[in-house]
């Protein structure tokens, strides 16, 4: 393990995180919040000092980076980013360190689970940082790092793959730096578009920016206690639904669109499935909310088809894309709808999107694999190829997806067990792990849409932070950090 090189890169990374706090400081100045401004400036200084020390330690590092270093670097960067990003909360006196770490990890991993009790009463500069962590984590802090820094070379490719979601991330351009900067340009274009749209729908620039960050990163932090529901506007709901769907799609498809392939989206089997699932689930939930199906509960049923559709669509898209914004308290919905939403959490967005979860393409491959396995029992001599969008999914990729799925379920099962050990009721324990591992945000019952995570014991908060980063980096980059063999020569 080339520790010095890792220290050097982590040092540069820490300094970058520190400097990225400056826009929030600018908002603090704008709102004349001098206390939070001091907290933010202090955090910048501490981050830069930590980064400087690490860089100093690694200044004579031998330049070769192998896969092991890259993998370790990605995992450690995220753990450190959340640590440094938590400083403003601590210095501003908003949270104790454990809560701050949870909130910041929830931000970077675009989860959106919050422990903040009084959102409207918190300083605007701090809230901006909270939303900005979403935006940075959405496309990836390290991808940003690769787009900006010139020196990573082939090592950059390893970093990119470890951070980008999906089974087999491919570059859009021969050089990884170009790929990263194209992705960020598309991301930036969406950011501008949504901010303008939200301002036209009546939001202030500040609110529009914060909610854009939350939407495009599929995060879920709002500047209001009642989330998007606070605006109670059909226009805002529609805009956010549209951009959540955009953010949950594969960004490589937008690149293909820009290149002139107008059918790029529809040609992609994963995207077709993704849209189909959204439409189908919205329809089913809408009907369920209108009282179709067994009346099981003292449930809120919406008076008109229109309003049922509006709330069903928003909640389904928000959960499916792993955003976690709410316009309705779905804890009061019928059991069937709630169960459907819980399952949707695991599906998640498309590969190469900013969404979390298992990813649609993996689900497609797993279903096809399962289907062939069943057919295999009575036709063992037939050779089958698993195809997605006409391309054969190779054996090694299939095996990785299979292993990923098993590990994912293990994390979920183990996590749920652990949370119930801490004394959380059944629904809460299960849904809190599902909501953090899949980077959604709100779960059910005590961690539901109108509740938050503040009452979870400190150990539970640390554990859920770990679930978030496990989900965001798709397990492996974090799991390896716990293997002693990884650190040995």
């Amino acid at each position: 393990m080339n520790y010095r090189l890792m220290a050097k890169y982590l040092g540069h990374f820490a300094i970058a995180i520190g400097l990225l706090m400056l826009p929030s400081a600018a908002w603090a100045v704008y709102f004349r919040e001098w206390g939070p401004l001091l907290a933010l400036c202090l955090s910048v200084a501490v981050s830069c000092a930590v980064g400087g020390l690490l860089a100093l330690f690694g200044r004579n590092a031998p330049p070769r980076m192998y896969e092991r270093e890259a993998l370790g670097l990605v995992g450690l960067s995220w753990l450190i980013a959340a640590g440094l990003g938590a400083l403003p909360y601590v210095f501003a006196g908003v949270f104790n360190p454990v809560d701050a770490y949870f909130e910041c990890m929830s931000g970077f991993t675009t989860t959106g689970s919050s422990v903040m009790m009084d959102i409207e009463g918190t300083a605007k500069g701090i809230l901006f940082w909270r939303s900005f962590t979403h935006w940075l984590g959405g496309m990836g802090i390290i991808v940003l790092f690769i787009a900006v820094l010139p020196y990573l070379g082939a090592g950059g490719k390893q970093l990119f793959r470890s951070e980008s979601p999906g089974p087999d991330p491919q570059g859009l351009r021969p050089r990884i730096k170009d790929t990263a900067s194209i992705l960020y340009k598309i991301y930036l274009a969406f950011t501008i578009a949504e901010t303008v749209a939200l301002m036209m729908a009546g939001m202030t620039l500040y609110d529009a920016l914060c909610h854009t960050f939350g939407t495009l990163a599929t995060g879920g932090f709002s500047t209001r206690q009642a989330s998007i529901g606070a605006f109670d506007s059909v226009a805002v709901d529609t805009i956010i639904i549209f951009f959540m769907i955009c953010a949950g799609s594969n960004f490589a498809l937008y690149f293909a669109l820009l290149r002139g392939n107008r059918k790029a989206l529809w040609q992609d089997a994963e995207w077709r499935t993704y849209i189909l699932v959204i439409v189908l689930c919205t329809a089913v939930v809408t009907l369920n909310l209108r009282g179709v199906g067994p009346a099981d509960h003292d449930t809120a049923v919406y008076p008109s088809l229109g309003s049922a559709l509006r709330y069903a669509a928003f909640q389904v898209v928000s959960i499916m894309t792993t955003t976690g914004y709410c316009t309705a308290d779905f804890d009061t919905w019928p059991y069937f709808s709630r169960m459907l939403l819980l399952l949707l959490m695991f599906v998640g967005g498309c590969a190469g999107s900013t969404g979390g979860g298992i990813k649609v393409v993996r689900i497609i491959v797993l279903l096809k694999m399962a289907y062939w396995r069943i057919e295999y029992t009575f036709r063992p001599k037939t050779i089958r190829a698993v195809r997605v969008s006409g391309l054969v999914v190779e054996d090694s990729v299939q095996r990785t997806i299979y292993a990923f799925f098993v590990l994912y379920l293990l994390c979920f099962a183990g996590g749920s067990l652990f949370m119930s050990f801490l004394g959380l009721p059944f629904q809460t324990a299960v849904s809190s792990v599902a909501a953090t591992l899949n980077n959604i945000g709100p779960g059910l019952e005590l961690v539901g849409a109108v509740q938050n995570y503040a009452h979870v014991p400190a150990v539970g908060k640390v554990f859920l932070s770990l679930c978030m980063v496990l989900g965001r980096l798709e397990l492996f980059s974090i799991l390896v950090l716990f293997l002693p063999a990884f650190w040995r020569r």
């Binding site: 896969e67 070379g153 082939a154 490719k157 390893q158 351009r173 021969p174 050089r175």
Partner: protein, 447 residues
């Protein structure tokens, strides 16, 4: 630059590595998925599985937009087809790597017929590099260009040359096949004219046909240039090329090969070389064949270990200078430690050659002299140039004062021009130019 490399063997991999560190957009095409994955992990390039000879594949990957396409698979025919196809699809410059002697000998014809810009062979390039190395002992700098037919040599004029007090017109009259390009005297340089006088101690740069440059060097230095007696171990492709190159330069060559069949072929291919059917790695053979008297001992078999050990043995027996061909590039820097004078890596030879072509698109800068103040450049004359059909005499008014047309390459013909010669379309023109006038010259030749 947008570069495609077909074939991820040792040459392709090495080339992709060198180019990727220079911020080019590189796509590597290869049939072997494992090899491809290895590249994918090691280099910042994009990879594509498939055969480079498939026109459909080349078309889909956008080879039409390529600035450079290098076909470097292990199969000559695949390389030739792929390069020709890439050119046909619209790649700006294409290079094919070949190993088979048949293609190398007629490379100019293949280039012309298939539209390939360069047909290059690692073995032939290695042989050329070794031959140059042998030749350059006693010379400050040397460079070959125009497919190896033209050479440039820089050397110091000795104290009592036969040329004392004579003007250039007398020493190398127009039509002699060589000319004197640059004279460097007391840190200053002149691009000379017919009535310039060469003085002892000058650093002169000669350009021209090989034998004419040899003759001229003899006049300036008063001795036969280079080493005389060369022993080569290994009659493979490199050995054969090397022997041929050295024969052309009038060296006495002794070539060892273990296999009788191969020796019989070698004898028919070579005119004056002594072919010995013996194992060149046995001490007895080396002593009996008087390797102790050899000025240079070269080991060019396919086996790195044999080459290295043969050189060590030859040094032990008494050879003055030893050169080894080392295919595994990690070994190359180590041979110095074993007392071997020089190591040549075929893979590096072709990669360096291609890198040179990449660095100098359009204008091929062949050599830089006088710390960058003078350059020797090669222009491909295309149809649109206004200078076509003009006599050089008339061109003189247009050319800057410190520029000189050194040679014209027409097919495989080398012309060291006088005022009466004309420039035709399709010629390559080698010029000596002061760097500050390069732009003006470029405007004249390239549209």
């Amino acid at each position: 630059m947008n570069i495609f490399v077909a074939g991820a063997g040792s040459v392709g991999f090495h080339l992709a590595r060198l180019l990727s560190t220079e911020n080019h957009d590189i796509t590597v095409i290869e049939t072997d998925a494992d090899r491809l994955e290895q590249i994918d992990h090691a280099l910042d390039v994009s990879t594509l599985e498939g055969s480079a000879a498939s026109v459909m594949l080349l078309k889909e990957t956008g080879v039409a937009n390529a600035d450079l396409f290098v076909a470097a698979t292990g199969h000559d025919e695949v390389n030739l087809i792929a390069a020709a196809a890439a050119k046909g699809l619209g790649a700006k410059q294409v290079i094919a790597r070949v190993d088979n002697t048949t293609y190398i000998e007629a490379n100019i014809l293949y280039e012309a017929m298939l539209g390939i810009d360069y047909v290059l062979s690692p073995d032939a390039l290695s042989a050329l590099e070794i031959a140059n190395y042998i030749e350059t002992s006693g010379i400050v700098a040397a460079e070959r260009f125009g497919r190896g037919l033209v050479q440039m040599r820089q050397m110091r004029v000795t104290k009592s040359p036969t040329t004392r007090g004579k003007t250039l017109q007398d020493v190398c009259p127009p039509g002699s096949g060589a000319l004197l390009g640059v004279i460097s005297r007391n840190g200053d340089f002149v691009i000379p004219h017919g009535d310039t006088v060469v003085k002892p101690g000058d650093l002169v740069t000669l350009i021209g046909r090989n034998e004419a440059v040899d003759a001229l060097q003899k006049r300036f230095q008063g001795k036969e240039p280079g080493s005389q007696h060369v022993v080569i171990i290994g009659g493979g492709s490199i050995g054969l090329h090397l022997a041929q190159a050295l024969e052309e330069r009038h060296r006495s060559v002794k070539l060892f090969d273990r296999k009788m069949d191969r020796c019989n072929i070698l004898v028919t291919e070579l005119q004056k070389t002594k072919v010995v059917c013996r194992d060149g790695t046995s001490r007895e053979a080396l002593e009996q064949e008087h390797v102790a008297d050899a000025d240079v001992f070269v080991a060019v078999t396919d086996d790195d270990e044999r080459n290295i050990m043969a050189c060590v043995l030859a040094k032990e027996v008494g050879a003055e200078q030893t050169i080894a061909v080392v295919h595994q590039p990690d070994f190359a820097p180590l041979v110095g430690k074993l007392g071997i004078d020089h190591a040549v890596t075929p893979r590096a030879c072709i990669a360096n050659r291609i890198l040179k072509l990449v660095h100098q698109q359009g204008v091929t800068s062949l050599a830089v002299l006088e710390e960058g103040r003078v350059e020797i450049v090669e222009f491909a004359v295309n149809l649109a140039t206004p200078i076509i059909g003009k006599q050089l005499r008339d061109l003189k008014a247009k050319l800057p004062a410190n520029a000189l047309v050194a040679t014209i390459l027409r097919g495989d013909e080398v012309i060291v021009p006088s005022g009466d010669d004309e420039i035709h379309a399709g010629d390559s023109v080698v010029l000596i130019v002061a760097s500050d006038s390069l732009e003006a010259v470029q405007k004249l030749f390239v549209r």
